[in-house]
């Protein structure tokens, strides 16, 4: 009787979980499996031909390299600027609320709009060149074509630094004030307090912020798409995948998407491992 009751509860529990299970299978698992299937399918049947095609394509190699460079560089810059601004905004000063709102503003702007804004800044007849010319300097005419990473780094960093800053600010505020006060009473300098107390306590928050941002940064698409379009000599994996898809090269597009998923997974897995090691220490 007791067993029956337990089984009934199990069935009831399963029935309750079923809508969520169906949702996850339909929305997440099925598309992922279908993507993998598509990446192995071609006119000749199933095989590795799509992967061979993209690995033989110089643009794919370039896109992969640029994606990793952009992700590492922008997340690094965002972390630097984000940490600095979080430290400043965690202090008590007049107008702190206003400054916090101001710092968050770029994050609130839609990515498409901010990408266009930076295209207008960096295009050869754009605001930057006209400013440089007015200052009497020789204008660097083709920023987007000759130094494409600069507009992309700037646009991406400007947009996403507030996100890192917000996460780190929350982390800074969760550090017990007693710890900082006792360090001060014991005669620790500001630098010592930062290195010995603030930084170690912030590492888990930093890693979490970096993991979230890195996933996002590796999937970068909108900013290079708006600034460079479908070519422009600076492909990233996101734009490469869409370009292949628009040419109706569905198989190679799916194969490139699978490679991107693998890169993101490796990055997340490595950082999670690092987080665990830090936590153990």
């Amino acid at each position: 009787m007791a067993l029956n009751l337990k089984r009934r509860e199990q069935i009831f529990g399963l029935a309750l979980a079923m809508p969520a299970v169906i949702y996850i299978v339909a929305i997440m698992i099925y598309p992922a499996i279908d993507l993998i299937r598509l990446s192995f399918s071609s006119l000749e049947g199933y095989g590795l031909s799509n992967y061979k095609t993209i690995f033989a394509d110089a643009d794919f190699g370039m896109a992969t390299a640029y994606t990793i460079i952009v992700a590492l560089a922008t997340v690094g810059l965002e972390l630097g600027f984000g940490f600095t601004s979080a430290l400043i905004l965690s202090k008590d000063f007049k107008g702190r609320g206003f400054m916090r709102s101001l710092f968050i503003l770029p994050w609130a702007i839609p990515t498409v709009a901010s990408a266009f804004l930076w295209r207008y800044v960096f295009t050869s007849a754009g605001w930057l060149n006209s400013l440089l010319t007015r200052m009497g300097m020789e204008a660097m005419t083709y920023w987007i074509l000759d130094y494409p990473y600069i507009p992309i780094f700037v646009a991406e960093t400007w947009k996403m630094t507030p996100f890192i800053m917000l996460m780190l600010l929350a982390g800074l505020q969760s550090i017990p004030k007693e710890l900082l006060e006792s360090a001060h009473v014991d005669g620790a300098t500001t630098s010592q307090t930062f290195r010995k107390i603030t930084l170690p306590l912030m590492i888990p928050v930093v890693i979490s912020a970096v993991v979230i941002r890195l996933i996002d940064a590796l999937r970068i698409f909108t900013v290079p798409w708006i600034i460079m379009g479908e070519g422009g000599g600076f492909p990233v994996l996101g734009t490469y995948i869409v370009r292949q898809y628009r040419a109706y090269l569905k198989g190679p597009s799916a194969a490139a998407a699978v490679i991107l998923v693998i890169i993101v997974s490796v990055a997340v897995f490595s950082l999670t491992l690092l987080n665990k090691r830090v936590a153990r220490r």
Binding site: L43, S124, G229, G231, G232, R243, R246, A247, Y248, L249
Partner: protein
Amino acid sequence: MRKIGAIMAMVVLLAPLVLPRVSAQQEINVFYQMTPGEDAIFRKILQQTGKDLNIKVKPINMDTIDTMNKVSAEVRAGGKGSVNVIFTDVTYVGMWYKSGTYLDLTSRFNDWKDKPDIFELILDAGIIEDKIVALPLRTDCEVLYYNEEMFNKYSVPTPDTWESWDDFYSAAKTFKEKTGTPRFGMKGNLYEGLTCDFLSYVWAAGGRVADPQGNVYFNSPETIEALNFLRKLRDEGLIHRNSRIWKEGSIVEEGMIGNQIYMAMDWPYAMSMLQGAGRTQWKVALTPPGPKTRATALGGWYFVIPKSAPNLDITWEFVKHMLGDKMQLLMNEKLGWAMANKNAWQVDESWPQWQKDLVNTQREMLNKYAMPRPKIARWTEVSYAIQMCFDRVIYRGEDIAQIVERTAREIQKIIEEG
């Protein structure tokens, strides 16, 4: 009282099952992909059509590839789907044919009494293997835009006096010498617009991509001649460098309105943007005369009715009405389009001069020099190969003959695989 309550409950419960069937007979879903500006006007046109036919026309602005995938899924599922009509670019006609999800309109079109006089070239581009895959709504082509004020200022002969590519080259060179900057721009970003721009030169040199039998002619001396000319322009710095990131919209906004270039080929929409920005010094001319001819890519929009379309009779009436004189003239007037129905190729005396010039130039290009893209089912892939050919030769400076051979092999492979 209970009985009345029970009947009312039944009515409420059954209503959702019955009502959609009633309304489905009066509603058709029309899918298309358009810019916001065109979309706003086009919705009004569709509303008018709905009023005329006493049906509800629901416009859905959606990516063409997504619509094709939706239709494929609906056809595979069997029964009736939710898509009645798709307005699709000429680029996708081959793909619709290959997908096999289209309704063959041949018999309906042949049985149509008092059918309008449709521009033959655009009608033909929708027919594959004697089947009408798609019927044209409108047509267009690229023309050459030039800044007349700058041509006069620097004493450069205007494009209407050009007799060969040499004149075109001289104009580009003079501008570079006198202003220190290249003043000729292209839509050189890697997308379909580049294919059209690039093929205009190949066609003008007498070349072609492939014939209807699937024979590839891309690796011809004519293609090499066209690429040699473009490479010369590029090597001498006569093509504006931003061409690499320009496409529809950005070339007008940044290049023409931004005063960075003085000449470029583009579609008719560019003139509305120029006029809207007060750049009235921009004029239109026929595309530059090449070694064999002038050339421009034939553009157009088509109706495709999927096999799974519900309410087929109403849908067909809708298509006929949209192709009729009344609606075609309305679209010609409101959107400035060159319509598929030749009765709507009118120039209204009340129009401003720039609009008359645009329509007349476009009409001449369409009648004499427009070239349809080859009827290849997997055109988007062929187009990709052509864009990459341009990319490798012009941007990366790779060997012309080798790249042309390689591209021809890629095209041949795509065609053979079907």
